[in-house]
């Protein structure tokens, strides 16, 4: 196998002109640009900020990465189908409130109140997040609402619902009660395994599973195909609606996990948690090389994109860059990422023509 390819390329190369060869090399660099970007930000801040590379700081940054990273994983599949999910930030806030409500108030059933244990709370909250995704998906697939509009509407509805939970108030001190059997919620966000925080493990597990699903299962193939050309997917007999529906369900599920993690870390459910996180998640996905037009990109890229955004953010905070400049720089990075993507597309075409 390898020898065949090697033979072919070694035969091909001498025929290529110099400029074609240069373009080809540049194209390969551009394809790996997200790794280059990650290396660059890490290198820059480790040289310019004193305690950047300390274990403690790395662990804190890893926690930050998980928040955007997990959202970006769900968002990647949505964007691969050429959709968008603007409601994830609100879902983060809502699921945090949901968990807080379940632990503090329990579920009133008639005269009595049912308190769930922590695994049950987590399960129910994840299901609720998935259900929010289901509503998104149903609006988009069965009622033909444009993804942007459907999830924009849900952004407001879900945020409003999160605020309604406790009349705009929070659920704090979520350590639970021994007699109710719902203690230990903080382990999810603050616990660690082998010295690495549970949220980081969650991110790794979700990345692996989603990567596997997207490359090794028919479902993943269909996701790419639908984003690449939905009409062709229909003619090929794919159940386009069902697949899209699942993608939004998964995005809602990921948002619920993030909501749980944040609430667990803070021991407080705050209704405004996750405000504008959807934009950071989208930025991570785009930075990671996934095309908003769908069909092109990868989960790994998005997770690395999330790393770049988080590290850039933390690094700027640590080196004392003003809040306002932080926003300007972040915006520029995202725009530059997309511009480079367009250049890559053009270069790709050129290389195809030249060879």
């Amino acid at each position: 196998m390898t020898t065949v390819t090697n033979n072919m390329s070694s035969q091909d190369h001498p025929h290529r002109s110099k400029s074609a060869q240069a373009s080809w090399v540049l194209l390969q660099v551009l394809k790996l640009r997200i790794f280059v970007a990650l290396f660059a930000v890490v290198l820059y801040f480790s040289l310019s900020v004193d305690n950047f590379l300390t274990t403690n700081n790395l662990l804190i940054m890893a926690q930050h990465i998980t928040i955007i990273g997990i959202l970006a994983i769900g968002m990647t599949l949505v964007i691969l189908t050429a959709g968008i999910d603007l409601s994830v930030g609100s879902t983060v806030g809502f699921s945090g409130m949901m968990a807080g409500f379940l632990i503090m108030n329990g579920i009133p059933i008639g005269d009595s109140v049912l308190f769930l244990n922590i695994p049950e709370v987590i399960l129910v909250t994840c299901l609720v997040g998935a259900f929010i995704g289901y509503i998104n998906g149903a609006l988009i697939t069965y009622l033909n609402v444009a993804p942007f509009i459907a999830t924009l509407g849900m952004l407001y509805v879900v945020r409003g619902a999160a605020l309604l939970f406790n009349d705009g108030g929070t659920f704090s001190r979520l350590q639970g009660h021994e007699e109710l059997g719902n203690m230990g919620f903080s382990i999810l966000g603050n616990g660690s395994l082998l010295g690495i925080g549970i949220p980081v493990w969650l991110l790794l597990a979700l990345t692996l599973v989603t990567w596997f699903v997207s490359y090794k299962t028919p479902f993943g193939r269909y996701v790419y195909a639908i984003g690449g050309n939905e009409s062709a997917a229909v003619f090929s007999g794919l159940r386009v609606r069902r697949i899209k529906l699942w993608v939004y369900v998964f995005s809602g599920f990921c948002a619920a996990i993030v909501g749980l993690v944040i609430t667990s870390q803070l021991q407080t459910g705050h209704p405004m948690t996750g405000d504008t996180y959807e934009l950071r998640a989208i930025a991570a996905v785009v930075l990671g090389g996934t095309a908003l037009s769908g069909g092109r990109g990868s989960v790994i890229g998005s997770v690395i994109g999330a790393c770049v955004i988080s590290i850039l953010n933390d690094g700027m905070v640590m080196s004392g860059v003003s809040n306002f400049w932080q926003m300007v720089i972040m915006g520029l990075v995202i725009i530059i990422a997309v511009v480079i993507d367009q250049l890559q597309q053009r270069l790709h075409k050129r290389v195809m023509v030249l060879t």
Binding site: T5, Y224, A225
Partner: protein
């Protein structure tokens, strides 16, 4: 095979006009696309006051050459001269300014706008900064009269049938002052009556000194209307002459390159019916019928060719069979049992597959590789099952894909290459391979040879023969008379959503087919 030089020498030089009289000259133009050279060092001249015919098989490079002239594409190498001056078009607007107008083969109309609005789009008549609707309406009425379209200029273009839309497209160009008018297969959707009107218009344009570039597959039309003829084959110009010096066999020889026999009918055993369609109808949104009470049946191992003009309802028929257009009414029986209303997924599972008409919009996923496209419909068969989850077995998938690559003779260096690196014919073969991998019992082809080169065309018809030999029922549509007769055991003719005639191969009569395919003739017959 003749080279360009030989060909020019063999034709009678003194009858050819000198290139200096040419209004438009293309010198050494080459156009490359990923994976293919569409035009290869082409020299081409267009003369004023005459009809310049451009002919070639699908995929020969005609459309590419026209796109260069119309400013829609730029040559990779070479130059274009208009009235002796070198020009560089950066868009269709530039070409229009230079006096070159094009009537594209695909309709570029806005279906939700009125005829008037379409006629003057981007070229509105103004009065004091506002659109002068009255003047436009008056001018539109004149233009429609000129093209012989009896319709109120204020109705929606989407409510016209395709032939009428084509006339609107022609009227649109007549409204603009052009020195060069490119017509890319203007008659493909026109009835005989409408073609006569068009020829009258072309004649008038020629009198006015306009250089008409006329692209068509219909050789009789070319012999009637053409002055100069240029033949393209595989991106090269292989013949240039005056139409009065040549005959139809000459054109065919130039186009195909020697005695290349494309179609090879072989009689075969036809079994019991697999698919029977009864009283199938489909209404369009505007109330007209896309399908009007269609009845037919196809047997095991039978090949049916459906001939019709654009908009006759061929595409809709095949799409309904695949389970699209849920509003269709009527019965479809598969193996004698009625087929429940279903989605494409269910129909494909049941054993019906479709190779769609437009491979770019509905056939292939441009972002995926050849292999991923090939196995897209059948990937479930390349899976191992684990705890209820399906996992793709890469080796098996690769095997399936490569089997199709060799069966269909797809030219690709590696099947993990992007599908967009292939030529049109090879892309089409991948889409056929995708359908074949679902192991269909009825295989539908919608215009399978549109935009593919001669060699690939032959391959596709050969594949159809082989598929039918394995007992699969094959239905294909075409708007080329020759191809309707190519490998079909039976020819159905469609017009206005109806099947107007159903002929066994040995009763096929070209005149009858042409007549039965004409919407106006069918309408007249119904009125009587």
């Amino acid at each position: 095979m003749h080279t360009v030089e030989e060909q020019r020498n063999s034709s009678n030089e003194q009858h050819l006009e000198s290139p200096s009289k040419a209004l438009v000259q293309v010198k050494n133009a080459t156009k490359r696309y990923p994976g293919t050279v569409a035009l290869d060092a082409v020299n081409y001249e267009v003369y004023p006051g005459s009809v310049n015919v451009l002919i070639g098989e699908n995929g020969a490079g005609k459309s590419t050459l026209m796109k260069l002239l119309a400013g829609a594409e730029r040559p990779s190498e070479g130059d274009i001269f208009v009235k002796g001056k070198s020009v560089h078009f950066h868009g269709v607007r530039d070409a229009e300014k230079a006096g070159i107008g094009i009537i594209f083969q695909e309709l570029n109309l806005f279906p939700d706008m009125s005829i008037v609005e379409n006629l003057f789009i981007g070229n509105e008549m103004r009065h004091a900064g506002k659109i002068d609707t009255r003047a436009q309406y008056r001018k539109a009425t004149q233009l429609l009269e000129r093209v012989g379209l009896e319709a109120d200029p204020s109705i929606r273009v989407g409510d016209l049938y395709v032939g009428q839309q084509q006339l609107v497209e022609i009227a649109k160009m007549l409204g603009r002052q052009v020195d060069v008018l490119i017509m890319d297969e203007p008659t493909s959707a026109l009835s005989q009556k409408e073609v006569e009107v068009l020829f009258g218009i072309i004649d008038a344009l020629r009198q006015d000194g306009v250089a008409v570039i006329y692209i068509s597959h219909r050789l009789e039309e070319i012999m009637r209307i053409g002055d100069h003829i240029t033949v393209l084959r595989n991106g090269r110009i292989v013949g240039v002459d005056l139409v009065k010096n040549i005959d139809i066999p000459w054109i065919v020889r130039q186009m195909v390159g020697g005695d290349h026999k494309i179609f090879d009918y072989r009689p075969r055993q036809i079994g019991e019916p697999t698919l029977t369609v009864k009283n199938l109808s489909l209404k369009r949104v505007n109330g007209t019928f896309a399908l009007d009470n269609v009845n037919f049946s196809v047997g095991r191992g039978e090949v049916i060719g459906i001939y019709g003009l654009m908009g006759a309802g061929r595409t809709e028929l095949l799409e309904v069979l695949l389970g699209l257009h849920r509003s269709a009414v009527g019965q479809i029986e598969f193996d004698g049992k009625p087929l429940a209303k279903g989605k494409p997924a269910n129909r494909i599972k049941a054993g019906i597959a479709l190779v769609p008409e437009d491979r770019q919009t509905s056939g292939m996923v441009q972002t995926l590789s050849v292999r991923d496209n090939m196995t897209l419909s059948s990937i479930g068969r390349c899976c191992s099952h684990f705890l209820g989850f399906r996992m793709i077995r890469g080796q098996l998938e690769k095997q399936q894909s490569q089997r199709m690559v060799s069966t269909l003779g797809i030219k690709v260096s590696h099947d993990s290459d992007k599908i967009t690196t292939l030529s049109g014919g090879n892309m089409q073969k991948v889409i056929i391979g995708k359908a074949l991998l679902t192991e269909p019992r009825v295989l539908l082809f919608d215009e399978p040879t549109r935009g593919v080169d001669v060699g690939a065309k032959a391959d596709i018809y050969r594949a159809m023969n082989d598929i039918a030999d394995q007992g699969v029922s094959v239905i294909y549509t075409t708007s080329e008379l020759d191809e309707a007769l190519a490998v079909a055991d039976r020819v159905l003719v469609m017009a206005l959503g109806r099947i107007t005639v159903d002929l066994p191969r040995d009763e096929v009569d070209r005149d009858l087919i042409t007549q039965k395919a004409s919407p106006s003739a069918v309408q007249d017959a119904a009125a009587q």
